[in-house]
């Protein structure tokens, strides 16, 4: 039998000190062997810059929560934290590409986090799950993709997939929901990507929308943007 004490994580203080609304985002990052060299270095720099950009926005600094799941192998590299306490992990590239398991992990983390918000009476925005990969899954990704698309349809979270050069875009297209197909990163423009992500999350963390949804985000697929379709 589990007691209430066991179910309640000891994180009440973070919500008491900061009762602001939360805007959670899980970064699901490919840390498999193929990312070795410049790609993983650029991704690390992008991640550090992401934190500092979020910190420049007073509201985002209190409201956005970032978590990081790495895959190759699947591990939670950073639990949910607001930018002031978020420590960007140093990513090391090794191993294969268990993308399916990583996505399943991200979906679970989002569900658990929502329960925690509810428990502490914290209001929240729809979570984002943001996948970046340069490869193809080496595990059984089909059931993870189905769960993911189900969650998107039920508005439990939003999902974004970004392929880096070498990514299997055909499989990414099957993983991503049809209404938001994967984007291809231009070169290694991780910094531009994270700038965009920081701006989008900042805008989201103060938005008000109706049932029709849609927080306007700048289109990353433009001549000056970081992505191509």
């Amino acid at each position: 039998m589990t007691t209430d004490l066991e179910q309640v994580p000891f994180n009440a203080t973070e919500f008491i000190e900061n009762p602001e609304n939360r805007c959670p985002c899980v970064l699901v990052l490919d840390t498999s062997g193929s990312m070795q060299g410049r790609p993983i270095a650029e991704l690390n720099e992008g991640l550090a810059q992401f934190k500092s950009e979020l910190l420049t926005d007073e509201m985002a600094a209190k409201r956005v929560e970032v978590a990081v799941v790495g895959f190759g192998p699947v591990q939670v590299l950073a639990p949910f934290a607001t930018p002031d306490v978020f420590v960007p992990p140093t990513l090391n590239a090794s191993g294969d590409t268990p993308m399916g398991a990583a996505l399943t992990q991200a979906v679970q983390m989002v569900d658990v986090r929502k329960q925690e918000y509810k428990q502490f009476g914290i209001a929240y925005y729809r979570p984002w799950i943001f996948l970046i990969t340069d490869g193809a899954p080496t595990d059984a990704w089909q059931s993870a993709a189905a769960t993911l698309q189900d969650g998107v349809r039920q508005k439990r979270f939003q999902f974004f997939a970004v392929g880096v050069q070498g990514a299997n875009m055909e499989i990414l297209k099957q993983i991503a929901p049809p209404e938001r197909p994967p984007l291809m990163l231009k070169g290694l423009q991780f910094r531009e990507l994270f700038s965009w992500l920081s701006n989008s999350l900042s805008a989201k963390s103060r938005s008000q929308v109706g049932n029709e949804e849609a927080v306007p985000v700048e289109n990353p697929v433009s001549p000056t943007g970081w992505a191509t379709v």
Partner: protein, 262 residues
């Protein structure tokens, strides 16, 4: 407790995020004292919060306030009393508001959803109090010497940034209406811009102390009615660094009291 005529102050202030991007204030409000032959003075407070995602929600919010007010005025002119208000009658008014928004949208060659806004209304007669709400923001009333209570909790979906707008048929079906057979002596209405300052989401309670500090200047006004000078001070307060540090959204606050001394 000693009573006097209604004293009212009301203000909207543009959010700092709107000011940065050049978006106008999309909140609108209307405060009025209406004289009814049959009931005496009736205080009316209306606040509408235009959707940030709708192109002309500032126009929509303003029009919705005026249209709702004129529906009430017609009702009183026809000799009805506030106690005769029903949910069906209020629904008629809301449909009229939407029809007015629709007419405006058609005239402008735009879509109804481009004028999306929320609506809060408090109608206070000497004997009865009526409240109407579609969407977020809230109205709160003084219940005791110290304590304030909300009338309806803000209508948010699972996510804090989702709410209902009068321009959505499904939202209109969920409008809140309450008629209470008792006078209310002090009330405040506010849009979602200051929700997080004055409501405690964790406990679903009102930050009573905040309102206790806001009302004395309203009570102290020389004349009954809507006071322009105090309303102007309210704009200054809502635009102050202390408030803007907590919210960068548009915000509206309406305060009304008929208490002379507590």
């Amino acid at each position: 407790m000693e009573l006097q005529g209604w004293r009212i102050a009301g203000a909207s202030a543009v959010g700092t995020s709107h000011a940065k991007t050049g978006v106008p204030c999309q909140d609108a409000f209307k405060c009025a004292l209406i004289h009814s032959e049959r009931e005496g003075e009736i205080a009316l407070l209306i606040a509408c919060d235009g959707a940030g995602t709708a192109k002309f929600s500032d126009v929509g919010a303003d029009l919705a306030c005026r249209e709702f007010a004129s529906n009430l005025e017609l009702f009183l002119c026809d000799g009805h009393r506030i106690e005769a208000l029903t949910a069906a009658k209020v629904r008629e008014w809301l449909d009229n508001v939407v029809a007015a928004l629709n007419a405006r949208a058609t005239a402008d060659g735009e879509q109804l959803r481009d004028y999306a806004c929320t609506l809060l209304a408090a109608i206070l007669s000497p004997t009865h109090s009526a409240f109407v709400q579609v969407g977020d923001g809230a109205m709160v009333v003084r219940e005791t010497h110290e304590e304030w209570c909300y009338v309806f909790w803000p209508q948010h979906g699972e996510y804090i940034n989702t709410t209902c707008f009068i321009t959505e048929p499904a939202s209109l079906d969920k409008f809140e209406f309450a008629l209470e057979a008792r006078p209310i002596h002090e009330v405040a209405a506010f849009t979602d811009g200051i929700e997080s300052l004055v409501l405690q989401y964790a406990t679903n309670t009102v930050h009573s102390r905040w309102f206790n500090q806001m009302l004395p200047p309203v009570r102290a006004l020389d004349q009954p009615g809507v006071d322009e000078a105090l309303s102007q001070k309210l704009v200054t307060y809502l635009s102050s660094a202390a408030v803007c540090a907590r919210t960068d959204d548009d915000k509206t606050l309406l305060l009304a009291s008929r208490i002379k001394t507590l």
